[in-house]
Structures are given as C-alpha cells and as structure tokens.
C-alpha cells in the first residue's frame, strides 16, 4: 500500500488496491473471483485477477489476486494490501506476500494474530445458512461493506453467477453489514472511479480472448487431448459448437490430436489443436509431417513448468526452444506469443491466416498465467477479421508441389475441382510421388526454404516504447508485467521492447535494437531461450532476468529485479 502510493499516486494520481483471497480448492475462491471482479467492474473500477492453484481438485491452498484501480491494470503484484484467508492453511500459504500494512481477514476461530488481522465470523455465518460453502459469498459481502461500495451492485453480480441466488444474496447482505461495521482499521483508500470508461470494457481471461481470435480466424475444427493449462481453449471451443458449425473431437492422445488436425486441413477445414509442453513434445513427428507435406496446422501451446510433469498447474515460458526446434528436419514454421487480450485475438486470427497462406504449422504460445488471468479489453470489431480461403479449385493436371518463385505451391483440397491431391511425407516430386533423386531433393529443399524466406516479409516487428538507452526486452505473456514494472521504476533510461511475433525473426527489423546501449532480457524460464534467439540474430544481451519457480513475474518484484540488474551494467 505504502510502496504503491509512492509509485503511482504522486505523479499520476493512480491508485490501486490488491486483494489476495486464499483457500483450499473447492472452497469457492474461483467463484469469489468471478463475483468480485464483476461487481468491482460494475462499480466503475478497472479490474485485474490472476490465480495460482495446485494440481488437485479439493484441498491444498490456492489463491486469487484481485486488483482494482482507477487506471488500466495489466499485471499482478506480489505484496498485497488485503488478504482474505478462507481457511487456516491460507494464512500460512499467503504469508510471504504480507507487508506490515496488509490487512488480513481471517475467521474468528483462527489463532494467528501476527499481522493486522481482522477476525470475522465467516464460518459461523455461513453455517447459519446451512452450508460451509457460503463463506465465499459472505466474504464478498464483507469486502464490499468494508469499502462502503453499493450493496446492490454486488447483489446483481451474485444474481448472474448463482443458481441459488436468493440465499447467496442473503449471505452477502449479512457479510455486507458486518463489513460496514468493522472499525479501527486503516483501509487502503479506494481509488476514484470512472464508470463510463470501465463499462465500455469487457472482462475475460486470456483463454477466452485466444478462443475469440481463433474463431475470428475461421477455426471450424479442433481435435485435442485435455492438458492443463490448455484445456480452457478446448472447453471454449466445445461451448462454441452450440453457436457455430465446428467439428470437435477429444483425441486418444496428442499424436492423434495433431494428426487429426492435419487430416482436417487436408480435407478442407481450418483446424487446430491445443496442448501443453508434454503433449507438444509428443507431436514433434507430426509437426514435421506438417512441414514436409505442407499441410497447415495451428497449435495452441499453453506452457507450464517442466521438465516432465513438472508443476502442471503453474506458469512458465519454458517451451520456446521446443516449439522452435521440435520435429526432425528443417521446415518453415511460425511462433506467435500474444501478451495482452488484444494480441490474443489478433495473433489467434493471424495464426490461421499464416498457416493457410504458407501451408505451415503455426504455434501460438500462451502459458498458464496468460490463460487464467482475467483482464479488461475494449471493443473489438470482428467484421475486420476476414475468414479467407487460400485454396483453389484444382484443375485436371493439378500438381500439389508445383515449384513456384516463392516456394508456395497452390493448395487444393480433395473433392473440390478435377485434380487429385497427393500430399506426401516422404521426399517427393512436384506431383507428389516419392522420389530419391538427389536433384529433385535439392529442388524441394530449396522450395521449402524459399517459403521461409517469403515468410520474412510477414514478420511483425517488436513494439518499442520509451527513449531510454536501456531496453528491457520481453516476449509473450510478460508484456503487462514489464510495462507496470517500468512505470513503477519511472526511469527515463529504460525502454520497453515487447515481442509477440517470435519466429522467424527478421534480421533487418532487429537492427532497431542496435540503438539501445544495453539490453536486459526478461524471461519466465530457466534457459533464456529467447535471449539465444536474439544472439543468433546479432543482438547481444547484457543481463538476463530469469525466473522459473512456477509463478509468473510480479510487477513489484520485477521492479526490484530490474533495479538490481541495472547495477550489473556499467
């Protein structure tokens, strides 16, 4: 809270409050997140929510962080103003994130009194209504009461999300009254509100935004095997089968997922699969088939920490090298890593366009953090995304691998035209017969390489912000957190460089980075894979800020890390 006012309010009168809610899986932390984010938004605040949770369905200790502010928020913070512990374990679990001024709401039965604890009768009150699981609604009420916000706003949000809304509303009202009455606590000052601006915005997580991007790209088929944190996209698309004509199947394994997707494109669909690192590691051979047969594919790869099963419900940007190099033999591919909801939509759309146009696999890199984080996004005009077709009706003498100047052979689909479509995973000649002729091999290697060259003209340059000589370089999901860390640092020397287009990189475009005297790369992984890519393109990195403990970066912590790393420069 202190740190916070110092950093923002003085200069810009920006104020934010962070609320961390902890409890066992199954206690309704997720529901609380939904109600509160909706109610805060309706009250006119900018809202940002992110969660961290264990790989289990009940028990353990999970949290959700809700930040509200009078300015657009795009990052989590580690230290919190308010903490709500729905059970005893949560008090302990959240401990590292308390500051001296953190207000900790606990049940009256908890003995821990180290912090500025505020005891409320959450369990008791919930039980009064017949079930322990009303704790979450009760606490929603308490918080709203404490903030002295309009009760009716909260009740409306409850109506939206509960089937048994009446009783939940009663519980919330009781909480609200209790909250209003709490005394003798120094509450973080609520920011001013801007109802009009905020109400224009849409609240959704990265998963949903990616899903809309894929739909905008005309995705009409998805085949996938469940795997956290990618399953959200599969769920989203499944729900969309009720709205649109989409072929969907849960595959028996990830190899089948990608093979079905390839079959789909071959047959005329705009198909995709979704997975995470371990599942993607199984897709390598099929990815290579996409490259060789020049069959498009879109793969949504939501990263989580490895190796192996690692930390299945946590976050890391750890699969970049795998995405870059998986599959045997060289072939063109594109890697896109959106870092905001807008980018999720734009790059989700672009993935289908590029896959179709260049007949290549396109990998969209997300991660648990981006997938599960709820942010705000302005209006999007979907009529501006055209769902194109790059295929043609085949003529009788159609040759699938006709050699062309840019290496792209016109693609046709079976049953549409008079020609026959022969797509082949062995080395082949132009019509798609197997060949072992070394000159034909050279011709086809060159054809595929020319597609890589052609792709370079599509590359989207990184976004560079600020005029400082020190570039803080990030990619993908870290966009927002780096932005806030830099705002907090408010140091004229620092510029922000954000990459959403990850591969291929354009050597020429990267020369824009030569103007920075120092380069600091921020990656949520242990292998600094992106820094390696920069180095291969003659961009030398001075400092690498890496983290691979299962958390995404936090703006306040990153602020400190960058400060620390500046000392290494000289």
């Amino acid at each position: 809270m202190k740190r916070f006012e110092k950093d923002f309010s003085e200069s810009t009168h920006q104020v934010s409050i962070s609320i961390l809610i902890g409890g066992a899986a199954g206690l309704g932390v997720g529901t609380l997140e939904k109600i509160l984010s909706d109610a805060f938004k309706s009250s006119g605040y900018y809202v940002f929510c992110t969660k961290e949770f264990m790989s289990r369905v009940r028990g353990g200790s999970n949290t959700t962080l809700i930040r509200i502010a009078n300015f657009a928020l795009q990052a989590p913070c580690w230290e919190v103003d308010i903490a709500v512990a729905l059970d005893a374990l949560a008090v302990e679990h959240m401990k590292d994130r308390y500051t001296k001024s953190t207000l900790l709401f606990v049940d009256e039965s908890f003995s821990e009194k180290d912090f500025s604890t505020i005891s409320v009768a959450m369990k008791e009150s919930a039980k009064k209504f017949g079930s322990a699981r009303y704790v979450n609604t009760y606490m929603a009420g308490v918080l709203f009461g404490v903030f002295q916000l309009e009760k009716i706003t909260l009740l409306r949000s409850i109506e939206k999300y509960f089937q048994d809304e009446e009783i939940n509303k009663e519980v919330a009202e009781l909480g609200y009254e209790t909250g209003q009455k709490i005394e003798n606590i120094t509450l973080p000052k609520l920011p001013n509100i801007d109802i009009k601006e905020v109400q224009k915005l849409h609240l959704m997580d990265g998963t949903t935004a990616c899903g809309f991007g894929f739909l905008a790209g005309g995705c009409n088929m998805i085949t996938a095997y469940p795997m956290s944190p990618s399953t959200g996209v599969l769920n989203f698309m499944a729900s969309m089968t009720k709205e649109f004509d989409i072929s969907l199947e849960q595959s028996e394994d990830e190899i089948a997922s990608l093979m079905m997707t390839l079959g789909g494109w071959y047959g005329g669909a705009r198909a995709m699969t979704s997975t995470s690192g371990g599942g993607f590691a199984l897709m390598g051979e099929a990815l290579s088939l996409s490259g060789m047969t020049e069959t498009p594919a879109v793969i949504y790869l939501a990263q989580r920490p490895g190796p192996a099963t690692g930390l299945p419900t946590r976050s890391e940007q750890g699969d970049l090298n795998l995405a870059l190099y998986s599959g045997h033999g060289p072939f063109p591919r594109v890697l896109l890593a959106p870092g905001s909801l807008e980018e999720c939509i734009n790059y989700g759309y672009l993935a289908f366009e590029l896959a179709d146009k260049y007949q290549i696999p396109v990998i969209v890199l997300s991660d648990q953090y981006l997938a599960d984080t709820i942010m705000m996004i302005g209006d999007i005009d979907f009529s501006s995304y055209e769902q194109r077709r790059y295929t043609l009706k085949s003529a009788e003498d159609y040759e699938r691998y006709a050699d062309t100047a840019n290496g792209i052979s016109p693609r046709a689909i079976p049953g549409f035209g008079k020609g026959l479509i022969c797509a082949v995973g062995d080395e082949h000649d132009e019509r798609g017969q197997i060949t072992e002729e070394y000159k034909m091999r050279e011709q086809m290697v060159s054809k595929r390489r020319r597609k890589s060259d052609a792709l370079l003209k599509e590359v989207i340059a990184p976004i560079c912000k600020g005029d400082g000589e020190i570039a803080i370089i990030g990619w993908g999901s870290s966009r927002g957190v780096i932005a806030e860390a830099l705002e907090r640092l408010d140091d004229k020397r620092l510029s922000h460089v954000h990459f959403a287009w990850i591969h291929p990189l354009s050597f020429e475009q990267l020369r824009v980075l030569d103007k920075y005297k120092y380069k600091i790369v921020v990656e949520n992984n242990a292998d600094a894979a992106f820094a390696d890519q920069l180095k291969l393109h003659d961009v030398d990195v001075n400092v690498k800020i890496l983290q691979s403990n299962g958390f995404s970066f936090f703006a306040d912590q990153l602020e400190g890390m960058i400060e620390e790393s500046l000392k290494e420069l000289s």
């Binding site: 849409h202 009409n220 004509d245 028996e252 071959y266 669909a269 099929a286 999007i380 079976p414 062995d426």
Partner: protein, 283 residues
Amino acid sequence: MSHLFDRENVDVAWCPGCGNFGILKLIKEVLEELKVEKNNTVIVSGIGQAAKTPYYVDTNMFGVLHGRALPAATGIKMANPELMVIAEGGDGDMYGEGGNHFIHTIRRNVNIVHIVHNNMVYGLTKGQASPTSQKGFETKVQVNGVINEPFNPLAVALSLRAGFVSRVNIGNAEHAKGVLKAAFMHHGYALVDIFQPCVIFNKTNTYQWFKDNTYALDENHDSNDFNAALQKAFEVMPMPLGVLYQNKNSVVTFEEQIRKSDAKSLYFITHDVSRLQNLFDSY
C-alpha cells in the same frame, strides 16, 4: 478390365511376387466396379511396404507417418464427411506403432474402410517380427524366435464392437474381392485384414501356408451374430476368412454425430461475424 485407377508413370517399389501386387489390383478393381469417384476418394496411408499402395492408385492420397493413418483419416472425415476415405497400411503400421489409434478409431465408428496388409512381418525395415508374427518366428532381432502372443486384430476389433470385421487372403483374390466390396458398402468403420505373403522376409507364412491354414466362411456362418463372430475370431489353424461380423442395423457413424449441420464440407463453413460479435460483447 479397364485401367481407370492405374496411376501413370510410376515405379512400383515392391519385390516381384509380393502379395501386395494382388492387393493393389484388388483395390483398383473394387474402386472401379463400385464406380467410386476418384476425386471424392482419399487413401490415407502410413509408412511401410503396404503403405506404398496409394502411390499406385489414381485417387487423392495423404501419405502420412508410420502408424498414423487412422487419425489423419478421421480428421479428413471430420472436415468433409462426403469424401470416401480409406486408411491403408501394414500390420506393423496399424497394430504396432498405430495400435492406440486402431482401438479408438473403432470406438468412434468413423465411416472408413480400413485395409491392413498383414504379412506377419516388418517388410520395409527388412524383416523384424510384427505384432501378428507367429510364435517362434525367427528374425535378426527375434534371434530365438518370437515369444509374444500374436495380436489378433479381429478379436480386438470385435471386443471394441466394430461394425464390420473381416479377414481375407490375397491368395484367394476372388473371395477377397467380395469381402472388400462389402466393406466399402458398409456404413461405418470396416476392418479388412488381408493376409499378404512377403516373399522376401517371411519364409514361414508363404502363399502355401496361408492357403493351408485358412478357409472361407460359408453361409453357415451368420455374420450378423456377434457371438458366432467372436468364436470365429479365436479360431486358428485353419483361420476363417470372410466377413466374420457385420452389424447390419444402421448404426450412426462418428461424423454424423459430431457436426451441427449435416455433412457439408468445412471448406464452406465460415462463422457468422455478427454472432461472433454478440458473443464477444456479452463479456
């Protein structure tokens, strides 16, 4: 016989005398006799000697990876149920590397014809045991002979409630043709396991051996009787040939169920932008 499905100017890469020639001929004849449209037909194959077949048949083809023909075929049917899709490959391809897809494609009842060239050996990789190799079969890898129980594709297919389960011997081409035709006409997943002598790497299971150890089912066998089929599937020496089982009740296929619309190709499906806009705006 015309040569409607001959592909021009191809170099057939099989060994003289190989059973695959017979299968190739069989398929081309059946396609022609059933008046199948080239352009609406796709043969998907894996990798192996058997999997080279579609390179010699003048239809659409998707030559994928060892073991992976079935999910690719499924994907094609998901994209365009109107296409006639055949998945073809060897015993190693389909029952070894591709075993998991075999199981689950049957469970889905995808409307494809599944042709497996069963030579009880890995041909293209020069003679290792395949899942269907008989016990005792000696190879450079199985130096003391095969010890594992041979994979019984018919029994497994039945245990998964496949709607059409058959086996033929390419040494008996006329009989094989009738069965293959029935498979093409079946509505739903149809398995045709074809005994195919590999004259180079399998000196045990020769044309003669297959002849001696098989017999054609006759009208006494009721292919509509699941239990009878099951019994037949376990019969060995001799092994029955023919349609062991066909579920003649019209069972709904995979692709008939997964789509909102009818069988229209997804090529023609774009999403209504205003509906998309509304959905987004509701957040």
